[in-house]
Symmetry: C2
């Protein structure tokens, strides 16, 4: 029986900030290669391992190998039955569970595909999962997908969409001693930021799952530190909007435009541009495997608030959901951690739902 906490710590101790996953991909490739019944394929820093048992249905199990940059927590630290460290909960704990399943599910009910990939924590254009799908779409074929992002071993159904918007305000440059000759683009952006902070968080319920939308400004910039005598003529903010799966991207953009519009003046050259959209995924709770997983978990399913790669699988036509070990509220926190109990619960539920008992 795999020591899931020790394996998680071992994975945390292999640094794997996005774009730097070669070492951890090598580790995972070697681990999976030991199971003679798995066909292992490595593509760049992405690894796919598949059973070929001729089962009627194939389940894809997916997890990302990369982490956000460490915040003083670059090494694994064990405290009792907890493992701390960057990526511990997001999502090396899930990767550990996935590797343990690959070792132990020798005779599963379904054919299984394990996908471990790079660059989930950065812009979607770098996604390792998307890269595999582009190069070898056959490797990702299946009937249903599970993404092992942390969900505290509860079925977290579907995912919210992500829309990144660039808001630009324009002004007119002038000397700061005579600002009335110009117009301050940063001051105009201030009104946009205040309106963004007043976003009213919609919480629609779908398939019994309550989603929770959000709007956050993640980056803002205007003017120049070196030109402190100049009224700035341009300021920019990058906003991240999470929207529930009852809306499509167009509806989401309409809502944000209505919120920010009163602070913007298109005649002055202000603009809202959509930089990137990752579609939301519906809960798909009608699928029998998800019903079995809900039953094995012993908990009511709930909405996934973060965006995850279930969106990618949903886009390919595979019903997909999230299920993995650990508290999703700890993702990207400096004190993120995962416990032995959380790892073992996720493992047991997945083994029950996927394996021959």
């Amino acid at each position: 029986m795999t020591d899931l906490l020790a394996l998680t710590a071992e994975l945390v101790d292999i640094p794997s900030v996005s774009h730097d996953e070669a070492a951890i991909a090598g580790f995972v490739e070697s681990e999976l290669g030991r199971q003679g019944f798995l066909e292992v394929t490595r593509l760049a820093d992405n690894v796919v391992a598949r059973t070929a048992l001729g089962r009627t249905l194939r389940v894809v199990l997916a997890g990302h190998l990369d982490t956000v940059p460490p915040a003083g927590n670059g090494r694994a630290r064990l405290e009792g039955d907890r493992c701390y460290g960057v990526g511990s909960v997001d999502m090396k704990g899930g990767v550990a569970v996935l590797l343990a399943l690959a070792r132990e599910l020798v005779e599963p009910v379904y054919d299984l595909t394990y996908v471990l990939y790079a660059c989930e924590e950065v812009e979607r254009r770098y996604s390792g999962l998307a890269a595999v799908d582009k190069a070898r779409p056959d490797l990702l074929e299946g009937d249903v997908a599970l993404v092992l992002e942390p969900t505290a071993s509860v079925v977290e159904a579907g995912c919210q969409g992500v829309m990144r918007l660039v808001v630009t305000t324009r002004g007119a440059a002038a000397h700061v001693a005579r600002p009335w000759m110009g117009e301050n683009a940063i001051h105009r952006l201030g009104a946009v930021l205040v309106r963004a902070s007043e976003f009213s968080d919609r919480r629609p319920v779908i398939d019994g799952c309550e989603y929770h939308e959000s709007l956050q400004t993640v980056w803002a910039e205007g003017g120049s530190r070196a030109r402190a005598n100049v009224v700035p003529d341009r300021a920019t903010a990058l906003l991240s909007h999470r929207f529930a799966p009852d809306r499509d991207a167009e509806q989401a953009l309409e809502a944000i435009s209505a919120l920010l519009g009163p602070a913007l003046d298109s005649a002055a050259g202000d603009s809202i541009e959509v930089e990137e959209v990752d579609a939301p995924a519906p809960p798909s709770l009608g699928h029998p495997l998800f019903a079995a997983l809900v039953a094995a978990s012993g908990a009511a399913p709930r909405a996934k608030l973060g965006w995850t790669d279930v969106s990618h699988f949903a886009g390919k036509g595979l019903p997909a959901t999230n299920f993995g070990p650990g508290d999703p509220g700890l993702c990207h926190h400096a004190d993120e951690h995962v416990s032995r109990g959380e790892l073992e619960t996720a493992f047991s539920v997945l083994r029950a739902a996927l394996g021959r008992l």
Copy 2:
């Protein structure tokens, strides 16, 4: 008689963005060196030329050699009797007048000191004038100072103070899908920017001159473009405050703190820090030379709104004022320009006030 427009164009065609004034300093040094009655001293990219006629009073005439970076206007362009180009009005026109005075005022009423210096358009710590004063304070000794910044040949008395303030707001990082676990520092800065935009511009009248205060955010930054999943925990703005000479720095800071205070939470770690203060200078219109200059100009004196190096001379105990060619409202504009008439008027008034008629 010097062709002031041609000389201005010649000076504009010598690029001299701050920190890159060697070529123009060389030109000026060579020009002044031709007048045998001047003692010329070069210190780095600063040039001082002095008469030694044993007059009772010495007048210091000062002008900076540097410009802000060009905005598509790096070369001189003559249109009729106007010269366009970066620095044309701020203040190569003034430098041209100063060089012409040095050529033609062979027998002035006062002893004269011409000071042409680098790095006026950047942070005060780089100031060429301050560097000369530190290395050779004797070169800047005198009884009264005139700074040839553009004033449309009107005595623009004293100058407003400049205070640069760094405002920092703090929040708490979290994943953008669960922003209620953190707090958005950029959204909190938005409220500061809106308050800054609501600055009520005080316009005190001193010695008959109406000043006009201002508060502008010249730079703002928060969060990270590369970490678009993270609620930002820090945002910063650089504000430039111009304050009238009836207030000292402490009073100015009190006023700004009172304005921005309601948007800041010191318990959360928010702060206002004074990064740099350049003192204001009083109008000093009681001085006889200034009275003569006002009379020769034929116009009522008015307040100088921008900060200029009259502040430096006032700090040394020299009554100082601004008087130079061109429209000060054009400073740092892409279409800045100066006309032959403006140059000749400034030259004539100064020659009348300083020279033996």
